[in-house]
Point group: C2
Chain length 262, copies 2
Amino acid sequence: MRISFVGAGNVAWHLAQALEHAGHHIVEVFSRDTRNARRLVNKLYDTTVVPDLDFAESAAELIILAVADDALDEVMQRLVLPEECILVHTSGTKTLEELERLVGIYSDVPAHTGVFYPLQTFSREVPIQFTEVPLCIEATEPATESILIKLAQDLSNVVYIMSSEERAIMHVAAVFACNFTNHLFAISKRMLDAEHLEFDLLKPLIRETVRKALEAPDPAMVQTGPARRGDHQIIERHLDYLERYPAYQGLYEVLTESIMKK
Amino acid sequence: MRISFVGAGNVAWHLAQALEHAGHHIVEVFSRDTRNARRLVNKLYDTTVVPDLDFAESAAELIILAVADDALDEVMQRLVLPEECILVHTSGTKTLEELERLVGIYSDVPAHTGVFYPLQTFSREVPIQFTEVPLCIEATEPATESILIKLAQDLSNVVYIMSSEERAIMHVAAVFACNFTNHLFAISKRMLDAEHLEFDLLKPLIRETVRKALEAPDPAMVQTGPARRGDHQIIERHLDYLERYPAYQGLYEVLTESIMKK
């Protein structure tokens, strides 16, 4: 397929290279930051940096919007589409309907809309095994859906058709399992720093805990700790200690209660 | 060293084998459940299962209490110590003082008390690289401390002298970073199950998030998500969805607030 990218951030960086590696032709890359676009194009075989969002004469059959959620509206205002192209976004939170709506409002040319959402976090420096990245696909028309599924299967062994509603739920679940988890690590480090204890000491335990949780049939089955054991003596001692961090004390209480309720 | 174990659970299982492997002699193993003791002894070279807690005639220079926290008191009531032995517990939450106190109350023979706490979670089936396990050491007397440190260094590259107070703080931090984290995974799975979405789909993202958090200089530096971005629109949408799980909605709110406060 002939594919163009709008956006040259972390998602575009990995996705464009993976698509080219799978035999597709990345025709063009646009980015607000031309240096980013140039950096990505340098990694590709036969790709042009384009200076604006006018794709009217583009040879692309597929345009991938790999931009931040809050940039989507502005991009769609300025985007000029070629005839008969497929237009997808890569967002976990934007609905397909929203993309359709933006095409309806801003574009003179219709498009076959869809979603091509890689359920993974990307960093430019860290190579990614794309075959393991779950790709969540959605499209307005069945024909478009088939094309996107085929494309996704060129990259990954884990391809899902997922509605915008399902993607939204997946996102809530990811906030709990990833964003909130990261925050708990940060709190843990802050408390240890305050006592000149090393967070590094805790890392082997964290790694093993996560490994167990993800290999168990259900993380709830491998829950441990004072809340799970109903060890009120330890819990009281911890709450006493946390007097010095009222905000963390509150978190400790609600999370402990939540574990006990099960 | 000649070492005996009280307890044949997961900690004893790994620690006894690692100590023997490092050239020490595991003399005896006691367990309430004799089958457990026998199972461990079968893994060792020249070790006896003992039927009770009378170690008066034992050749052991070190007795390791590898029992559950809530069994410690009962064990100490029945334990008969040999002369001049070192007695340690392996608990992350019990203080050294408590062990001294129990020796004072229940034992006719004094002991050199200490703590030998491996900061890791153990499962019998999962082999453990002991060289990577942080070992936290504490002792009443400097001479005992030296002996325990030397022993710990035979097993691990990460040996710490840690006071009971520091160990308690480490435990609070571990509750946040491990127990609460596991609970968030369980919540995440519960929400996905309810919608017939697979938790497996989220696992690559969880693994990569944890990897990033633990490799960053500070997990706070790699915090992502709607709370971090201050994306109130998404947060409202998530809270609406979570109306069906009032308990999780409460957690979402306090954790989001806590991230935003930074």
